[in-house]
Symmetry: D2
Subunit: 320 residues, 4 copies
């Protein structure tokens, strides 16, 4: 067929997401690989033209084949590199497997507990996301299906790094409780070894969008930990800057060169996104975001979330 | 998952067609069943929420599962019912198989030649369109892969009804030649038996859209045949009224009651769309369309199409 | 600027309507002439490329410049022509002014009461819809701002024709009550003169969409009136067939020729859409719709609508 | 009207841009303030819900009210601050007026020549963009309507800073010539005073998109200047990271603190986006972009652009 025809056909099917009220982001589609619903969420795997295979949960893009490395390298490596010798890791969420994949590249890592609430999503990702297959089979990975809070409270062992790879703390959303001051203080912190580091994804961190949750998570964490380091990166498929925050009671400050050295020593293969300079840039926030974080006063507490209990037993099941 | 989530998900994937410049028609998608390109055209089979499975050729919706019966009953039955005893039929195009399916419901029909240029589309429809499988296996069907004009000129036998189930006569498009006065006069008419009827799909027939091709096809046919009957019906998935035209040198005029009687006598099973009154309504055009047909002066001729030859050998292959 | 550029620009702004769940209809925009909210509804006047100026109320296209004549000629003329000598008319709703415009073309008409609940919409249409200005100034027009039911009950005079130009009877919607059996029986019918005719718009009437409200309005009216005549027409800007229903205790049956004759005698200027044959076609429904109307059993009653009262005082104000 | 209705209405009109093939970015619209065509380009001023007033040229978003400060502060301040004492400035393009506005905030600046080819765009922005009115009236501004290259070649005076605020160097596009090595070498460089700095917008600079033009402009500039500093920032309304490049034969290296100090001394009012740390982050590129710039080999030359001449006289007029 002619180019003209091919062109027309290429653009007839679209994935469309309302990133926020009044703002849409649309990808031309090659195909819809899977559509289904688990006990907790709706799930789609799409083959998109601009970003490759895309995992969509509850109508929101979670991760796209061509740029998920930016998100997952940023989530995992800064915390592990800043730690002296990270051996045991706990992932809250992470069912997609990419967080585990990046963790398991670290030679120091001996044990990774990945705790996701949704068996079906995990099974789905295991079978569809070829790039994470090896990680799912790694003997160091201990996959647990449970509510992350309950699991952390149940276990007595401590971890060198705890990683929050959960949905954003939307009020009434499934994960709100896992972003509160009391959760950080009474559940996370007691489960960290001396020198341990907690890191969490922290939502959009753009010049306007950082006030949605990024600045509040930052402010909540600095109520609980002595050292808190926010950083961010642009994820093309999200059409925004994304944020992460590390927190610890031990200092988190390595030079760009020290980070590069540790990467070479500890990580198998080469990072595609993160190196020392990238982290320097990522953790040097722009003026507007920096000021806003500095002056943020909101703290996530159980109190704020109290109304959630009104939803009854459902909310517990919905924790990722 | 909650209804809210389900709702969001249901609407994230869309098929979008520009029906005309400045006008779009969009269907939510369940899945993209097939995307491919044949020698002649691009082809997609989509599973749409509002209209079921939809066949899209070169970026244009051809036929949708839930309402193709309107198109195909309207194309086939009026001509066959107005004929005294239709035994042999020739279909130009029709690779989808639905036209043959409707024809083969007629007890009088002994032979159907279906001549489509695109082997791959025919194979595709054979395997995907379950509703037409029986028709494709009917021993009365003689499927030929060829250019319809060449095939009609090659054959010496005559037909009771010839059916044009082709793309619209867009200038430069693949089918223009099969709508010209000389084609009707020197190819179609000589291949009709005494009392034979020619019927063709004739493009959009809405109060504004009928001037695109419907009125010109009508005017061209009345240069060649003594009796010409235009009629139309609304096809929901096309977002428009569609038109067909019958032409013959014998009178085409049965009452609503006579049509109903012949339907009962000749057609296996019951029509979903067409009966006598429906045809009465369909063939009584609204004022604007009627006047416009009456005063139409344009005639499709080879002369008009001469410039097409400039495209070289391609145009011949592109006939459907 | 180049054509290429112009082309890109022409298509960058779009009006988008979800005609039904999973089905979108989009018009390229020239401009947004007005956006506002009255006491009762949101209102927009758009300048669209395919359909000219378009009035949108509560996110639903009401009427488009280039094809509103189809709707308004179909709503008004059949009832007035079938009446022996229509002098006094009552319009429920109709604030746009187009219904009055068509009525006032009839030489027999001496008085038109137009009763719309929304002063601001009426004022808006008066000032923006140039084509209806003359009608708004016609001394035979008596414009009343009130709830149509209250107004009809308050008045003692009788009418030759009563016209329902209201929103569809969606449960919980503002107009449900004005489509019930008891409203027809105890409010409409007693306000009709001997030989009087009631006509109402009756929602979508397509081969699938007629089951939404068209068949139920038909069935409700035939509980109350001896003669009930449904008819329909395709409105391009609605992307569907639309329906209207006439009802009377006197027979409604004129031939196509008689209608044409009365049009010539009574109507100033020439209709663009409706003539005798058009009405013959419009009132001859296709098989599926005809059967469905015949077998419809649902009747709109106050009982069905009782729950509406739960919404409290709001519902009364919301009647158009 | 109810919230529900209001909600529906708010989303019915959309601006839609294909950022790249297969990728769309859509803003809900309040209104279309202006649509027109100048001698050189199509122009629209839209009032969008997510980004305020938006200037669209030839179907591409140029600048949006709520985040144009990021682009214009990034384009202007780094170059002026790194210069010892910037008095005279030449802007190629910049008809919108925002670049001049930022320049004129510098107390050192005595003269700004702004050279845009399109009188009508300049007039349009003068009258519509309230935020730039003061700049257009500043006596230090010398507004010239001409092709930027011709103007620079015609003038004999030298400048402390030359700013390129032009469309991207797309082959066949209007501005290609203003990004070539020979233009930099024989037109720009000879017009810079000792210690002078050239800065240009340099297209998308995202982890994937930087290979379109950013890396080539960088590589072309480093053929001509001793010191070349690329930097970038996320512009929400562009849905991407954007890049700029400074070039000089004098060193460009101030610490974050020195930049902050100069800002305080030289700039009236406070920057919203840029400060010392922001520039540190902006000019520390992420690994992938850094490597790609380092290894880039493509140089824009007249040779590459030679075929453009084939378009005849048109191309010259089309320079912005």
């Amino acid at each position: 067929s002619s180019n003209g025809n091919g062109h027309a056909q290429r653009k007839s099917c679209w994935y469309e997401e309302e990133i926020e009220e009044n703002l849409r982001w649309c990808f031309a589609l090659n195909s819809i690989l899977h559509t289904g619903a688990t006990q907790y969420q709706d799930i789609q795997l799409l083959d998109t033209k601009p970003f490759g295979k895309a995992l969509v949960i509850d109508g929101k893009l979670q991760s796209a084949e061509i740029d998920e490395f930016i998100y997952h390298e940023s989530l995992v490596h800064p915390a592990l590199l800043h730690h002296v010798n990270p051996k045991s890791i706990f992932i809250m969420g992470g069912g997609e497997g990419s967080t585990a994949r990046e963790l398991l590249r670290h030679r120091t890592v001996e044990k990774v507990v990945m705790c996701d609430i949704d068996q079906e999503v995990v099974d789905f990702c295991k079978s569809y996301l070829v790039v994470n297959r090896e990680a799912f089979r790694d003997p160091r990975l201990d996959l647990v299906i449970n509510d992350a809070r309950a699991e952390l409270e149940r276990r007595e062992e401590l971890y060198d790094v705890i990683i929050g790879d959960l949905a954003d703390p939307i009020e009434g959303g499934p994960c709100y409780q896992l972003y509160t001051k009391s959760f950080y203080e009474f559940t996370i912190k007691p489960r960290l070894n001396e020198g341990g580091i907690f890191v969490t994804q922290a939502g959009p961190a753009g010049v306007f969008s950082h006030t949605e949750v990024f600045s509040c998570i930052y402010n909540t964490l600095r109520q609980v930990f002595k050292y808190v380091v926010p950083y961010s990166a642009h994820i093309p498929s999200y059409a925004d800057i994304w944020g992460w925050i590390m927190a610890s009671d031990s200092p988190i400050d390595l030079s760009s060169e020290e980070l590069d050295l540790r990467m070479k020593q500890r990580i198998k293969g080469e990072n595609r996104y993160l190196d020392g300079q990238t982290f320097t840039s990522a953790s040097t926030l722009s003026k507007a975001v920096r000021k806003s974080l500095e002056y943020e006063t909101h703290v996530y507490t159980e109190g704020n979330a109290r109304f959630i209990y009104g939803h009854g037993s459902a909310h517990k099941q919905n924790q990722a």
